[in-house]
């Protein structure tokens, strides 16, 4: 991996390899995830993709992408803890496998810069019709949260558990905040965002990093650079909001309940041992040899699935389980009991299973451009620069005591249950 600063606070992370048939190039603007701006941030990539000064509308842009052998340029809106990242991800064929000679790196770099920096505007403002249509689509996507019950339960847990923190902000904002977007203020906000956001560029493919840097440099030359937003970052809350677990419930027309438990990783986040946290997660609920999988699903048949995941940026662990309404209490008790029982000891086998599961996940990072991108951005934004191989080695050194220390530190903060209408 090579990392270079192309312009003030514009970083390129480039991984050169010839093992893939495709390349990936992405550009992300980083900003704070806040209730007042989440919708504005989320609408921008889709709005910018409507057309640029060179490719006046979506049809022209799509023509260009078709000509470039089905290259894709997808708007991206994602989060790293309390950072919101917005931009575009381009995937395209490596020119070695195309029937004609094309400079794909140069073409795609220039498309990225074009779409991100030179929107098709009228008098310097976004086109009102486009803003109206994209904000309506955003509002529809916000409504569509309910369609995926698992994702919905996780989001609702976040909102309730972190209602006093930026973290509780849904990444697309609310229907109201989407509907209130307005083309004049959005145009102003966009210019400000361009000037003040750090930019992360990523490339993975067969081209020389310097050639990629040159191509991106000329594509991003006109990026305005102003005073950087110094406040950016994730605020880690160590303790739970109140002494007791807080409970939240909601009814919906569903036939299966979704039980979501939220935990603070606690004091271990003072000086986080990320390897140990990951192994703990794999052992508790993050793998098919985990306590939750073996006990809650396999042994007791309490549910169809029960698994855990961690957010290392924020120091939060979440467990999600699909259960019958009548077995909610039993499943919840068992999920909490398994955490308690880890605290009183783990077997050498489960430790090595968990370590292997995490280490293998790291080892396969280098097998896909997309995995490399998310690995590196996640890593760099937490201020770490170990490569995946080093992470795997660190994981293999995690001891039972390290895992127990994490288990001791973890505290359940909130529990959310999505149940059927009219059920107790």
């Amino acid at each position: 991996m090579e990392r270079m600063e192309l312009l003030p606070n514009v970083f390129l992370t480039a991984v050169q390899t010839d093992r893939f048939k495709t390349a990936l190039m992405s550009a992300s603007l980083l900003t704070q995830l806040e209730r007042q701006n989440a919708s504005a941030n989320a609408v921008l990539p889709s709005l910018l993709r409507r057309g640029s000064s060179r490719y006046a509308d979506m049809t022209e842009l799509q023509y260009r992408l078709d000509e470039l052998y089905g290259a894709s340029l997808e708007p991206s809106v994602c989060r790293y803890g309390e950072l919101q990242s917005i931009g575009f991800t381009a995937r395209f064929c490596d020119e070695r496998f195309l029937p004609e000679k094309l400079d794909m790196t140069g073409e795609m770099a220039s498309l990225l810069g074009e779409v991100l920096l030179r929107p098709n505007t009228r008098g310097g403002l976004f086109r009102q019709a486009w803003v109206d249509s994209e904000k309506e689509k955003l509002a529809e996507r916000i409504d569509a949260r309910v369609n995926d019950k698992r994702g919905y339960a996780i989001n609702r847990l976040n909102e309730e558990m972190c209602c006093y923190e930026d973290y509780g902000t849904y990444i697309l904002g609310t229907r109201d905040s989407a509907e209130n977007l307005q083309y004049v203020s959005l145009s102003k906000y966009y210019k400000e965002l361009l000037a003040t956001s750090p930019v992360e560029l990523f490339y993975c493919g067969s081209a020389e990093p310097q050639a990629v840097a040159d191509a991106l440099c000329s594509a991003f030359l006109t990026l305005p650079r102003g005073e950087l937003n110094e406040e950016l970052g994730t605020d880690i809350r160590m303790n739970t909001v109140s002494g007791d677990i807080r409970f939240f419930e909601e009814e919906m027309d569903v036939s299966q309940g979704q039980l979501a438990l939220g935990f603070r990783l606690g004091e271990c986040m003072e000086e986080p041992d990320y390897a140990a946290i990951r192994v703990f997660n794999a052992l508790y609920g993050g793998s098919a040899t985990s306590r939750l999988f073996r006990n809650v699903r396999e042994k007791l048949s309490l549910c169809y699935y029960a698994s855990s995941g961690v957010d290392l940026h924020k120091g939060i662990l979440r467990v999600l389980s699909g259960v019958e309404f009548s077995r909610r209490q039993q499943a919840q008790d068992e999920i909490l009991a398994q955490l308690e029982s880890i605290r009183s000891g783990i077997t050498p086998e489960e430790l090595s299973d968990a370590r292997r599961s995490v280490a293998n996940a790291y080892r396969t990072v280098s097998d896909s451009p997309a995995a490399l991108e998310s690995f590196w951005l996640d890593q760099l934004l937490r201020g770490e620069d170990y490569d995946a191989e080093t992470c795997a080695a660190l994981v293999e050194n995690v001891s039972a005591a390290d895992v127990l220390a994490i288990a001791e530190s973890v505290q359940c903060d909130a529990i959310y249950f999505l149940k059927g209408e009219g059920h107790e």
């Binding site: 052998y69 949260r145 299966q256 396969t364 896909s368």
Partner: protein, 423 residues
């Protein structure tokens, strides 16, 4: 052992058929940490009536999927899924209308894992107790499927298009139908369909083809058995059984699938050609750079999740067009108008060629993921062709054959629709 070269994509497959009839395909990929293996049988949710030992058997809906869950149990009380996972492999299985596939990916101990895969898939072991317990787990899975909008839409359309083909029913069956399953049902279905001649083994990664074949030969049954005969009922006509199926669910906006049945050809080569032709034709007519899509997107009637394609399983093939829209009726009318426009004007030559390029590039991008590559190769072997053949066939397709495909199949009387409406 044969070597098949695909120079356009810089890949070579090694293939052979074992004496017991099992076809094996190995794609060596040097320098990758991950290897995948997929062992699949040409048996899925639609294969409910079949001939075994000279007798026709009728089985309840959901057996193939049930069997998939139970295959991981080994006679010594161990569970192959847990064992593979404990060794650091990531293993899973899936069942579709005509296929059951078991697969793993791993970064170490590939041949040990492959041995286990071959052993557990070829070793049936079921007890009254384990079957009863699984009935509880699968009932939950079926319930979860009931909440899934995608599942409801899909089976809505299959039920509308097909009159009696078993592909119209859920692969998982119903809570009632799986209650009828006994260990005997499972043994019979395993005996009929898990025969090497009815299966395929695919390995992709930094692996050795000779070694893969030697292992498979050593661990699997030696004798060749005939491929099972199955019955999907009388051949369906090309007209839909119903024009529309509707359901109300807790969704934010109406979702729809439009579809039309397509005649599934007899030979592998013709099937591949049809798949490519349909995809290219549909992308040119309705894809993201089409006037159809651009207009409906701008009018707020379609989103970028609108997707079109051809799918086939167990001989039931159909065109699928689906997405979310506040006015599904307008979308349907616009599709038919696009076909009418095509009838008068034909495709724009330049646009057709651009779509062909895009499709070529998309197919190259699809080679990146070993798992999905194994799946599509597996599907193609069962259908009698080899997926990578597409790179030489795609440049040969003519504009005229793509146009006539659409004009033949996309008409008012052939079209049917599945709708999920907000409550």
């Amino acid at each position: 052992m044969n070597k098949l070269d695909f120079p356009r994509i810089g890949e070579s497959f090694y293939t052979c058929t074992l004496p017991n009839g099992l076809p094996v395909y190995v794609l060596p990929k040097k320098g990758f940490s991950r290897s995948v293996a997929m062992f699949a049988t040409h048996y899925g949710g639609a294969d409910r009536r079949f001939l075994l030992h000279g007798q026709w058997h009728d089985t309840p809906a959901g057996v193939a999927h049930f069997l998939e869950h139970k295959m991981f149990d080994m006679p010594d009380g161990s569970n192959a899924l847990l064992e593979l996972t404990a060794r650091g492999a990531s293993a899973n299985a899936f069942t579709s209308t005509d296929v059951t596939a078991y697969h793993f990916s791993c970064t170490e101990n590939f041949y040990d894992n492959l041995s286990l895969l071959l052993r557990f898939v070829s070793t049936p072991y079921f007890t009254e107790e384990s079957v009863r317990k699984e009935q509880g787990i699968i009932a939950q899975e079926i319930r979860m499927g009931e909440d899934s909008v995608g599942t409801a839409l899909y089976y809505g359309l299959m039920g509308a298009l097909f009159d009696h083909h078993p592909g119209r029913e859920s692969v998982a069956g119903t809570v009632e139908s799986i209650a009828e399953i006994t260990p005997e049902t499972l043994y019979a279905c395993h005996a009929a369909f898990y025969r090497p001649s009815n299966m395929v083994l695919i390995c992709i990664g930094d692996v050795d083809a000779e070694k893969v074949c030697a292992l498979a030969e050593e661990l699997l049954p030696k004798e060749e058995q005939e491929r099972p005969l199955r019955d999907y009922g009388e051949k369906e006509t090309l007209l839909p059984a119903r024009k529309e199926v509707q359901r109300s669910m807790s969704v934010s906006a109406p979702k729809f699938y439009l579809g039309a049945k397509v005649l599934w050809p007899e030979t592998g080569e013709e099937r591949l050609r049809l798949m490519l032709k349909a995809e290219l034709a549909l992308q040119t007519l309705l894809g993201e750079s089409s006037p159809f899509f651009t207009r409906l997107y701008a009018d707020g009637l379609l989103r970028r999740d609108f997707a079109v394609g051809l799918q086939s399983s167990a001989g039931a093939a159909c065109i699928l067009m689906g997405g979310e829209s506040k006015e599904p009726d307008t979308v349907r009318t616009a599709v038919l108008q696009a076909v009418e426009h095509l009838r008068k004007e034909g495709f724009d030559e330049e646009r057709f060629e651009r779509c062909r390029k895009a499709m070529y590039g998309t197919a190259i991008q699809a080679l990146e993921d070993f798992g999905s590559m194994a799946s599509s190769l597996m599907g193609s072997v069962f259908e009698g062709y080899l997926q990578p053949r597409l790179f030489s066939l795609l440049p040969e397709l003519s504009k005229e054959e793509c146009e006539s495909f659409l004009l033949e199949y996309l008409s008012e009387e052939r079209l049917s629709r599945s709708l999920v409406l907000p409550l």
